[in-house]
Subunit: 156 residues, 4 copies
């Protein structure tokens, strides 16, 4: 029998500044350092930077993409889930995670936060949407990643 | 060839107070008076009250339900779309509308607002989530319904 | 309370011969004559011809389309359900019907037949896939439509 | 950058005989021996046996489940994708694979074959549905697994 690893989703802008990319990458590295799996939307911006960080630290990455072509995933994804469901794939990204870390993003990110909260999956926001007390606000990205690991480990 | 009618979604709590039900019903009646079609999630609370209002005024109602059993729809739905997709059906409710009217609701309502804004579908909020300037805030439900009809008519 | 009408899905090729179009249209007309609602995938070929037939006979038509743009539906659709789910919308077409009539089609049609049979929705084939004894084979399209109405009426 | 591994789906009955389980397990072992990833529907029967075989040979397994609870996956799944989409998750199983191996199964299996063929993903049948010349028929499970690896390797 498998001892399933903790799985953390990182969500946010599909296109973003070098600063936000570095924040995402540092979270990805921290997730991998703790031997957790990273899941994301598999495309660019925050998704790519987080996956790059996780791979730099020797981790495992899953990308759940909107289209049918696995080649559309960013080059840091180990396992591509090709959905063909368009933006509806947002639901799957958060539902496959034990905890969600939200970085700044627009309505796609907000939809993911909404569906995580509907499903009772904890959401940690690092300067992202602050629309509910159910979202845990953590300013520092490393502390956010560590808290995510801690909460997720208790759930398993 | 068909002259397609305007279609307005009404979203909000699945369980709600008599006051909120009356608000939803008045919006449903107004939509039907203007010969527009009402689309909703097909279950209880705001969904049922809005559909009841629309039928009282002789209108047409569509309910897009999470499950597979058409009998689970509320009794004021003419056309039941049985999805079997669970909460993912939220996306379809707003995508099938020309304009969305949001009444108070929780994360399900927020997910619907998010997906409407992602798809560029106008959202009018009547005391619902005020998380973006892209949402049109209208306090009076009848004025909200009239504005929805007006905006939707321009889109067709 | 609404007395819900019987709803029949017609599925088959998205591009087809004039003969197959006439078959689909005759089924659509028969569905409308019996005051039943037609549901289909909303695009061309069998879907368009069946919807045209239903409208010629004064019926009501629902089109569940793969994309987000309601304008992509064929011109004989009263109510467009815009899913944005791509071919996954095939599931919704059959799940929203009380009975499915299958005309010749390829793997999309086969996927719809499979999902109808999974959900226990009766399938009547008019020269379509004959891959199971659970599918009712009827050579004549009018008799197929009449049988569909009959079976669906018993379910309500 | 990641060198993405070949990914093979194994589909078939959710409940099955010890013989069919052994067939599925031998395919899973062969997939893992070739350093390929196994993807399946994550539940019992063929899905569980194939995943067990892959884990016995030190491989990696992905399970795409219909529900929201990751604990519902069988105990041989490394990465659980919790969809909440019900049977619509069938589409994702085949779309995430480079090649599909079909063992005996009912309409769920048929729906997966249909969607694989729609998406142009090769399907190898081991005593499963023989409804099209587009499906490659291979009687021996090990030869089927080897052929799947060979075809998938050419695609990458």
């Amino acid at each position: 029998m498998v001892k399933r690893k903790v799985c953390i989703a990182v969500i946010g802008h599909g296109e973003c500044s070098p600063e936000l990319q570095e924040t995402a990458a540092s979270i990805g590295r921290c997730i991998a350092h703790h031997d957790a799996v990273l899941v994301c939307g598999g495309l660019g911006g925050v998704m790519e930077a987080a996956a790059r960080g996780a791979k730099e630290a020797g981790g495992t990455t899953i990308g759940i993409i909107p289209g049918l072509r696995k080649a559309d995933a960013n080059p840091y994804i180990d396992h591509v889930i090709a959905t063909g469901l368009g933006d509806a794939r947002n639901l799957l990204v958060v539902r496959s995670a034990d905890v969600v870390i939200a970085l700044p993003g627009k309505y796609g990110t907000l939809s993911e936060i909404s569906f995580a909260l509907m499903a009772g999956i904890p959401v940690i926001s690092v300067s992202s949407w602050a629309i509910s007390d159910d979202i845990i606000q953590v300013a520092d990205p490393i502390k956010a990643a560590q808290l995510a690991i801690e909460i997720a480990s208790k759930k398993l």
